[in-house]
Subunit: 97 residues, 2 copies
């Protein structure tokens, strides 16, 4: 298996509905991209301060499956329309699982 | 379930053995902290540029289990001895799973 993890942090003052729109849009992707084997999208629980706002943990059979997801037009549309306009910081790691 | 995700990035020039020591030290924690239900530590595969270097995805029964892990002396020792000396950036999210 091959895992992709990304943490996203929004610009200060981002309204909750913009956050919710990102989460909802990301959650449409497993139904559209069959290479996704497991996909969780979580909103930070505010247990700690200084956290990012959203995390995605996505598992694929192999790196090729991840690349299909990364470059998929539906994924790129979510990034362009929902994520980039409110993105302040991003941290990602991909690794063999 | 309750999930903790953290991405860590090292200062430029960090030797590989310091990275490997972090990964090895983190992987000792599930045997020491029974509240951990699932624990993966991954080193970035260098598929993309600009990534962080390590990611931990840890699952617990609930937020209380995560807090035990967060504050556990063995975890804090790994952070103090292995992580903090080479840490450039950190991104974390905790969320209900």
């Amino acid at each position: 298996m091959f895992r992709h993890v990304v943490c996203l942090q929004w610009v200060p003052g981002t309204p909750a509905d913009r956050h919710d729109a990102v989460v909802a849009a990301l959650r449409t992707l497993p139904a559209r991209i069959p290479e996704i084997r497991s996909y969780t999208v979580g909103s930070d629980a505010h247990v700690n301060s200084g956290n990012h706002d959203v995390v995605v943990v996505a598992d694929f059979d192999d790196v090729a499956g991840y690349i299909v997801y990364r470059d998929h037009p539906d994924h790129q549309a979510v990034i362009a329309e929902h994520i980039k306009p409110i993105l302040a910081a991003r941290a990602a790691v991909q690794h063999e699982l």
